[in-house]
Symmetry: C2
Subunit: 422 residues, 2 copies
Amino acid sequence: MPAVVMAIVAFCSSITLIPLSSHCLARVGLRGRDLLKPYKQLVPESLGIVPACVLIVLLFLFTPVFFANHLKTHASNLQPQFPHHKLSTYLSALLSLQTATLLGFLDDLFDIRWRYKLPIPLIASIPMLVVYFAEGGITDVVIPLPLRQLLGRVVHLGPLYYIYMAMLSTFCTNSINILAGINGIEVAQAVVIAGSVAINDLLHLPLSHGFVSHLPQFAAHWSSTALVGPTTQEQAERHLFSLCFMLPLIGASLGLLYHNWYPARVFPGDTYCYFAGMAFAIVAVLGHFSKTLLLFFLPQVINFGLSTPQLFGLMACPRHRVPRYVHGTGVLEPSRAYFDKPPAFYVSVPLRVLSAVGVVQLEVGGNGRITCSTNLTLLNAFLCLFGKMSERQLASVTVVFQVACSVLAFAVRYGLAGLVYD
Amino acid sequence: MPAVVMAIVAFCSSITLIPLSSHCLARVGLRGRDLLKPYKQLVPESLGIVPACVLIVLLFLFTPVFFANHLKTHASNLQPQFPHHKLSTYLSALLSLQTATLLGFLDDLFDIRWRYKLPIPLIASIPMLVVYFAEGGITDVVIPLPLRQLLGRVVHLGPLYYIYMAMLSTFCTNSINILAGINGIEVAQAVVIAGSVAINDLLHLPLSHGFVSHLPQFAAHWSSTALVGPTTQEQAERHLFSLCFMLPLIGASLGLLYHNWYPARVFPGDTYCYFAGMAFAIVAVLGHFSKTLLLFFLPQVINFGLSTPQLFGLMACPRHRVPRYVHGTGVLEPSRAYFDKPPAFYVSVPLRVLSAVGVVQLEVGGNGRITCSTNLTLLNAFLCLFGKMSERQLASVTVVFQVACSVLAFAVRYGLAGLVYD
């Protein structure tokens, strides 16, 4: 319940504080041109700091509330053992979240270079990892049935698992950051992911078992057995913890989305991407559902996969890869990268495959060599697939795609997973 | 030992990173005129963010080191019980410190108004207080011998003690902030206080008992009995914890002091005052030596006491109360506040007393009424007492006074305390 109150407070504070603080941010130089608009008016940037601060302050203020029961019994000496491990979990989560916010904001202010930027989420995740370890950190991975003959039932990853978790925070923050460029999509995708995580949490809480009994017979049967299975007290607590982060995150983000949706009056900045990405990494690591989280990140994974040739310097990568605004028409077309020299075969072959699927448009010179390609991003892929459209339409398509991927993720997690795990 | 390594690393990083980052801060508008210099060149401000970030990153990186022993035995299942309460203490300290830094920096950037600023350290201290409570927070105060007939041996303060601790963080941050205005003194006073706290910690560590045995007979006898008395394992651990914060803080601050000492190339900003003040409040609360800390804050207490008539609006308070630079001479004289209407008796009587002592200079009109007074700050008091001097000399006098107060504090804590406590 406190989480719902927090979500409402977060939404209200976020939606009212953003217009009030936007001129302060603009004053210290945090403003930028909207590349996809005919007008040249500057838009205040890094407004992600507002929902981030709102969420952090709320989590601070609600710390005693979350632990009220324990504190009460502790004070009356009824229960000598205060759950210190839960408190340290909570504090480490807050610490990682706040570090990501602070560093994201410094990044927005000072434009930190890429090579200094990459370790940021790694440093921010240290407290979380120490707590994971101290909690008795499980680093075993259960192997799917088809691979068990090869690898055995359980693989003990040990330190590799910690590297995986640290990488997860880097991935979550940066993958939201690179699926960006048109109004509203950074925030909208985070809202959809947070919503999916929250629904997944609700499925693991005891109350959902009560809830499903009201569903039609077949749904109730399906959900209470195959869908979630028996939930232990510990699992339920971890998902409750996750819910306490996700609901206020949704509230605060919706407040930002209201101002950031087309036509944007504010930009979220890297601050928001670091903050939201870290929040997802934290709940997934401390809630032990990092694989499920990655399923919800499907569009980001696709976008990252598509982008790899450009991100890793295998082909030309212009400074901005966002779709291009066609002057006078109000619609967007895919932006292009031009090749000075013909691409190597390990680039041109995938490009031709992608072109055949329709997610890339190529220009081929007289000698059959590729001279130009649309930039490899999900947004450009949508424009190649569905034709030119307005910025608002493209944002809507992206959100619909994200929701569709979440539905697919639930199907995979609770449908297919039953087939490959026992 | 890790603390010494951290201090050295902190000093080196701080001293090299400050010149590198000062132009970045200046670019986003964080620069100000040095009021006490003939030249008008702007000086980069808020460089306190550098030592703060250095210290926080170091504390992050060293988290696994501090808990290495526990983590090792935990991993090998030799000791089933990981000291979660220590970890949550450490994390809450980091969290409070980081919050103070973040909010201090936002304050520097956006010039937050006083009424929004005051609750900042209160919010930042919540995690620390929850941990204090969960640790079995003692809220009993031992009463000095002379007052015991009146109040009994121990007074149970309960919730009042939490309010006291929250106020302590507010006092520590703001009292450093108001004893400011000439080059280097914010940082120098923090270094002296941190040094005093560190010496006090060393006195409580087992190693100091080994160390004192090399002292002359009388000193060894005095220190090992009257001075510190038997130290429990728990006390020693708390002071070790404090030392791990104080030594790197000294290192990082010395790096800043090098650039901030007369003539200042950079200013520390509110960021530094919040950060350093919070660090003191944290170690004192979690180390259970808040009264001793207040003894080290004697100059700040005097300055605050002196300032109250102006801070609480009982007499005229100009925007800047720093001493005035006398053009052409290179020396400072006390700055003055002029009275539009004659002050009430409850202001004029204390003013006349202070004037008799020599720490305030008054101008009296024909009718015997006070028309003008020097501003009520410690810096102006020094100028009244010792005459005009250069900025560098005034800074040195302030530092010497701070050191003298620390010596006095040790005498009170370990000399007089023995007389009024059993």
